[in-house]
Amino acid sequence: MLVGRWSLRRRLALAAGAAAAVVLFGTALLVFVVARGRMIDDFDRTWQARGAAVGAALEYQDDGWDLEERSETMAVFALGPTSALYQIWVGATVVARSPSLSGKDLPGPPPRSSPAPRSAWAMLPDGRAGRVQTWTFVPDHEAAAPSAPSLPEATIVVIAGTAELHRAITDLAWLLGWSTAVGAVVAALLMAGVVAQALRPLAALHEQLAACAPGRMQAVMVPDPPRELVPVMVQLNAAFARLEAALAREQGFTADAAHELRTPLAALRLLLEVSLSEADSPDARRQDTTAALALALRLQRLVEALLALARLDRGLVRARPEPVVVAEVMAEAWATVATAAAARGITCRSVGLSGVSIDTDRDLLRQILVNLCDNAVSHGDAHAEVVITAATAAGLTITIANAATAAPTDLSLAGQRLWRADPARTDAGRHVGIGLSLCRRLAEVIGGALRLERAGSQVIATVQLAKVIRNNPERIPAATSEPCPEPAP
């Protein structure tokens, strides 16, 4: 039995949940990256503003450079365990530094810079992480007289610790991470619910299908089905109907075959048992043996017919086409029933058979015609005429028509296996109800079709074949016999 490891509902719920999680985590990551960048920018701009305020306080006086200390600005660079510092160079000379440097200079020469501030990750002298801002500016001159000489560019470096920035970024990461995780779980649960709701028609269909079994295949009907499910239901119901019909036919065939086999078998066994216990004279034994032989022959015919049908079904019978004179095969077929026909006063007349040839399997065609002639003689009215006609308008059409007033009006089922006009299947003779079925299959093997119909009191069997040989006299064998006399022109 084929069992999937994962249900469709679980697969869809997991896929939808995973997709929602990916989208949520992706969005959170994007938000985190953008927000982190903004926070760092804000941090840089804050310290650049503070550095600019320090730079603006630098003045050149007659006795040199002087930094005007403005408390609100300088407090952040105050001496002590602070995390911010600055240093200003003019040329290679340090002209100012923050108290937080405790009188020590930053190592190295002033970095190369430009008026546009440059930011980078750096390290405070005590080893903590920070951001460095560097830019150049032109300091103010105390006596800004026109005669005052122009001042050289100064370079300022501001380094600020980023511990708080990192804490804020970490808090943001945790917030986004947790909210995304919770969101993903909630989304997965919601998706599971949505998927279950969406798959409800499929679940209903599954329940109905699970309740189906051979003989209990009712049409599946899901209320308010989604559009995608409608063709599936239509196809399923059509398949169920075909399967039920096939099953009914199969069961009918099995029951009929059982009846066909069991009844003569039972009669044979009973006859032998009775004969063993009773028949004590040679005449009685001979009589019983004759009756037993008749029953055995009947069983043999039935078994052979069933085997022939099985061979046809398995495709073991192949047509071997050859040029065939239809009149000749028809004559052979009629000859097999001529005695029985004469006994019942049945005559035969053929129309249009002369000169008709066809590319087909001679033996298979002969079997078909023998069966049809046998049926006409056995089941037709006594003292009636069997008319055999050949027409070549579209392929070759052979019809065998005879009066059979006792035949059923509806012959649509004729040709199904073990079909008999008499539902009780009483006929104790040669007919076992497989002949027409065999004919139909044989006709298919030689690329034709067999049809049986009733027209008034007439039963007409029609064999439709293709591949009539025309305009090729060399390929048309000469007829050696005629089935029955053609009417005088």
Partner: protein
Amino acid sequence: MRILVVEDFAPMRDTLQRALQGVGFAVDGAGDGDEALYHLKDAVHDVVVLDLMLPGVTGLEVLRRLRAAAHPAHVLVLTARDAIDDRVQALDLGADDYLVKPFALAELLARVRALVRRAYDRKDPLLRVADLVVDTAGRTAGRDGQRLELTAREFALLHYLALRAGEVVSRSDLLERLYPLDESAISNVLEVHVSNLRRKLEATGGARLLHTRRGEGYVLAERDGAA
């Protein structure tokens, strides 16, 4: 005991009739449902062996009509149909037994005998009248421990009288139940068989068990109540 065999397959019907006649039953045959119903209208058959697939009126329809008419015959369905549904349907319609073809003759006869016993409200296959014992299964009879050599027809007569021991059984009843139509037309066939049976019953020296009631019929009993 009279039995009707309803079977459309002639070789089967003929052999069944022959087998049942061979063990002393009077047997009629019918090839279809209509003929079966015609035979059954006189209600003289104790058992009907009935095929289901019959031309015209089906076996099930025959069964339905029998039961609707409260016909007393016991019905043994004998058919090739072996599905549970078929068995249930036939039994629910009033069949007394169901046997699927092919079958063993011994089993068929045993089932028919069982239905005959049931028809006369007997359970024991040994029927006893005074010192007479009739073994319906072994088809033997004995008196006072001595076996009686009886023909099939004599045994059938004794069997029927033993089933109705103590009752007066009319001559016409015996002819209807025990003799084929062609034989029952012979006026003294019954008297000949009764005479022979009585002689064999009394050959052991026992008291008379088979009594004649003039103008009424015969009774198998230890004492003739009318005497």
